[in-house]
């Protein structure tokens, strides 16, 4: 019954193309919706627009339905401590917060088309935000750092700790620690075409089942599909697809990107380098540079 996680052999070029197409679609959705965002819109409205756009473009299922966070909710302000509920917090769901001029926002969606799933994060601001600009510039350093360390086959917990250390050096809070299980990244698997789509609390049952299956297999094989700084991630990079989502926070402004990292037996690469944050970096003259 239980299948092994995707081995490098199992991920064909065709599969990677499939994942890349969905990731591209998800980013197109974020860019299209962001272009129409106006002050006065609520998080719920924007999340619904993203859902609508994706359904119109052939999306059939979700890892999770779209999220939108505005203002200081981009840094999950007030989400922590006792009320944080270890990341299983209804405060993550889109709220009635209204967009104002100068407010940063984050759009996060994880659509599935056929058997391929993507999970992306996109941020921006209505107007100018020097803080967000700086966060976005610095985020590229994390992209290079993560890839370099994974290529060096460092244990995943060590990679995550290096991200934490870079956050400390930069003076940012690693806000991905507010996510369930404090994950920097999580696994994404090819789905079984026979399964029927079903959403529970905005999460897609098929994708979550794959993740749970990975947890069971990982426990047996000594790895975890939930990549964090903790001991459970103290293992070499596991081949397959990882949705990596470093999320930085600075005094009420949060920024993130999320994209798929392809890990093979002896190498790793980002599924797609033509993503909005890379294009933005090129325009601003910010180069990826490993710390």
């Amino acid at each position: 019954m239980s299948r092994s996680p995707v081995s490098p052999a199992a991920l064909t070029t065709e599969d990677l193309d499939g994942f890349r197409r969905v990731q591209c679609l998800a980013y197109d959705c974020a860019e299209a919706v962001a272009a129409d965002m106006r002050p006065g819109m609520t998080e719920r409205q924007v999340a619904a627009q993203m859902k609508c756009w994706l359904l119109d473009h052939g999306v059939t299922d979700w890892f999770h339905q779209p999220f939108a966070w505005f203002g200081d909710r981009t840094a999950f302000h007030g989400f922590s401590g006792l009320g944080h509920l270890k990341g299983f917090n209804p405060a993550f769901f889109p709220s009635s917060r209204r967009l104002e001029a100068g407010m940063p926002y984050i759009l996060d969606c994880a659509p599935t088309v056929g058997i391929y799933t993507a999970d992306i994060g996109y941020c921006g601001c209505v107007g100018a935000s020097p803080v967000l600009d700086q966060l976005m510039d610095d985020l590229l350093e994390y992209r290079a750092l993560i890839l370099a360390l994974v290529r060096a086959r460092r244990p995943l917990s060590e990679v995550s700790q290096a991200v934490d250390a870079l956050c400390m050096r930069h003076g940012y809070e690693p806000r991905h620690k507010a996510y369930p299980f404090q994950v920097l990244a999580h696994r994404v698997e090819k789905l079984d075409p026979a399964d029927k789509p079903l959403s529970i609390f905005r999460f897609g049952a098929r994708n979550i089942r794959e993740l749970l299956r990975d947890v069971v297999i990982g426990r047996r094989e000594g790895w975890s599909p939930l990549w964090s700084s903790g001991r459970a991630s103290n293992h070499p990079p596991t081949p397959g697809l990882w949705a990596v989502e470093p999320h930085l926070g600075y005094r009420g402004t949060g920024a993130k990107w999320e994209e798929l990292l392809v890990v093979t037996e002896d190498d790793a690469f980002w599924l797609d380098d033509d993503v909005p944050h890379m294009r933005r970096g090129a325009i601003r003259g910010v180069r990826e540079q490993a710390a």
Partner: protein, 586 residues
């Protein structure tokens, strides 16, 4: 010693005013206007200081000193007082605008002049001390008392309570009786006791004081009620510098908060001491005036002035200079950023220039002016050079946070002399140099600021594995207790911060003595895990530091471990001694 003074009489309407001049008439004219119950002699110390560089003019306002007293109360209306000012300006500096400096009632009537269209071109700058315009004050009070916010109410009522004497002056007989029954004779002693101000010999005669006090009551009776009842919107294009005494008994510092609406070119500086800074701190007042006058003449705004410029939406620390050592990470960085977020100009000091620059960059993102310096705080010479450069560039600080520190653990008998020197150099001498050098600057500039020295809960938690570190922190603790007593008279607060186990860079760089490299690395990572488990964040400490500065607290304990150890030390010192035998290092 005293500067030669020439006097003349100037006619204004139906009264003659006595005007006094000092210094070279070819230089820019600084016109000093006195308040109630003073006369021109109150300016003597400041005028003598300014006379070296400026043409300094003082005069007795109508009803005071040697000037005439108008017959009727209507003669004391603000319009008449502003006419007097215009007459004096026309006589002492025909054609060239003057720089106005005014205190108390002098400032109230100067606001009248400064907001009058026909006079604005005749006034090049205005330095206002403890005297808000009555229209501005009335508008301010009305806004506060009509607001729904408890804070606004508190501010409004605070000013009403401080204005008890205004009500008293409106009573019949009683205020006059007070002057006649000997208040005038007591005045110099009262000033020394209550205000810490030395009344110059020329202003001591009781008979003159009594006459000034009696006549000047009409200033209040002729103007207060109509202006406060129906405040008008008054604006001015004249550049205005506010000198705000922080321990003022009569005027709330908040009363100037709405002024940017009416005065687009506004600077604001706070001074230590009470209502008469021209007598308690003449040097500080003279240098503030001189700097502002030079700026108004040349148009070159020095950094020290640019910092105190009141921009729109300024935070509560706007115009204050905050210096933080060890600002490249942890508690230092968060404290600096908290101050930056409240509008302060911040200086980040660290042993790593890159880290200090990064902190300064983060502060600039919050809209603050920020500077970065690489300084080894343990080096007396380096600190002296830094303090001098900083003063030259930015002036004296309002808050100094001596936070830089290093961690060390290990047995006393394995601690070498060099280890002690390194540790005490940073943790103790760094604090001493910072407090000493910047403390002097603050006293000289009359800044009622704060020196915050970061000690540790280790200061009162003896432990066998922490002899060096705990000793250095206990020394800081005692230093602060002594310093606080010494600087209290200057209005400078000294805050001791004792955090518990805070997860900062120090936890990852503790030096464990007498162990191999490998063991060192293991212990560091194990101790870092413990710190992370404790999860006491530098942000918490920073918030506690700002709260302590705001409420002028002496000692700040952060974390349950700090509180418990402090309590144990007081209640069961034997238990702390017993616990000291446990080696907590991993």
């Amino acid at each position: 010693m005293s500067v030669p003074v020439s006097s003349q009489r100037v006619a204004s309407g139906d009264v003659m005013l006595s005007v006094y001049r000092r210094g070279d008439a070819r230089r820019p004219t600084v016109l000093l206007v006195h308040g109630y119950p003073d006369n021109a002699t109150t300016w003597q110390p400041v005028a003598d200081l300014l006379a070296a560089d400026f043409h300094v003019v003082t005069y007795d306002v109508r009803g005071a000193g040697a000037s005439d007293r108008p017959g009727a109360r209507a003669g004391y209306r603000l319009e008449k007082l502003a006419d007097d000012l215009a007459a004096v300006i026309a006589t002492v500096s025909p054609g060239v605008p003057v720089h106005l400096v005014a205190h108390d009632w002098g400032s109230i009537q100067s606001w009248e002049a400064v907001c009058r269209d026909s006079l604005q071109a005749r006034i090049a700058s205005f330095t206002s001390i403890s005297g808000p315009g009555l229209d501005h004050a009335g508008t301010w009070l009305r806004r506060r008392l009509l607001s729904a916010s408890p804070r606004a109410w508190r501010e409004g009522l605070g000013q009403v309570l401080r204005s008890w004497y205004v009500v008293f002056f409106h009573l019949p007989f009683l205020p006059a009786l007070a002057w006649r029954l000997g208040l005038a004779g007591l005045w110099p002693r009262l000033m020394r006791r209550v205000e810490g101000a030395a009344v110059p010999a020329a202003a001591r005669p009781a008979a003159q004081r009594r006459a000034d006090g009696l006549a000047g009551l009409d200033l209040y009776r002729a103007n207060f009620l109509p202006r406060l009842w129906r405040p008008q919107r008054r604006t001015t294009r004249v550049p205005v510098q506010l000198l705000v005494p922080v321990n003022e008994h009569y005027v709330s510092p908040h009363i100037h908060d709405d002024l940017p609406d009416a005065v687009p070119r506004l600077w604001r500086r706070e001074l230590a001491g009470g209502h008469w800074p021209q007598l308690s701190r003449p040097q500080a007042v003279a240098s503030c005036v001189a700097e502002f006058v030079r700026f108004a003449e040349s148009g070159d705004e020095p950094l020290s002035l640019r910092r105190v410029r009141v921009a729109g939406g300024a935070g509560r620390d706007h115009g204050r200079l905050v210096i933080v050592t060890g600002a490249g990470s942890g508690i230092g960085r968060e404290t600096l950023l908290d101050f930056a977020q409240r509008g302060a100009c911040v200086v980040a000091v660290d042993i790593s220039l890159m880290a200090a620059e990064r902190t300064a960059m983060l502060a600039r993102l919050l809209g603050a002016e920020a500077h970065a310096f690489r300084v080894d705080v343990g080096s007396a010479a380096a600190m002296a050079a830094f303090a001098a450069e900083c003063e030259h560039l930015l002036g004296a600080p309002d808050v100094v946070v001596n936070n830089a520190g290093i961690g060390m653990a290990g047995a006393f008998l394995q601690t070498e002399a060099a280890d002690w020197e390194r540790l005490l150099g940073v943790n103790l001498m760094g604090v001493i140099h910072g407090s000493r050098l910047f403390g002097r600057q603050m006293v000289a500039a009359g800044k009622a600021g704060h020196i915050v020295n970061v000690a540790s809960a280790a200061a009162f938690s003896p432990n066998r594995a922490m002899s060096a570190y705990a000793t250095s922190k206990a020394a800081v603790f005692m230093l602060n207790d002594c310093l606080r007593a010494e600087l209290a008279a200057q209005g400078i607060g000294v805050v001791t911060v004792c955090p518990g186990f805070v997860d900062t860079a120090i936890s990852t760089s503790i030096q464990f003595l007498g162990v191999s490299e490998r063991e060192q690395a293991r212990k560091r990572s194990a101790s870092q895990r413990l710190y992370q488990l404790r999860n006491l964040s530098p942000k918490t400490v920073a918030a506690a530091i700002l709260a302590a500065v705001d409420s002028d607290r002496a000692i700040v304990l952060v974390g349950i471990e700090a509180w418990s150890m402090r309590l144990l030390q007081c209640l069961a010192p034997w238990l702390t001694r017993a616990m000291a035998r446990i080696d907590p290092t991993p």
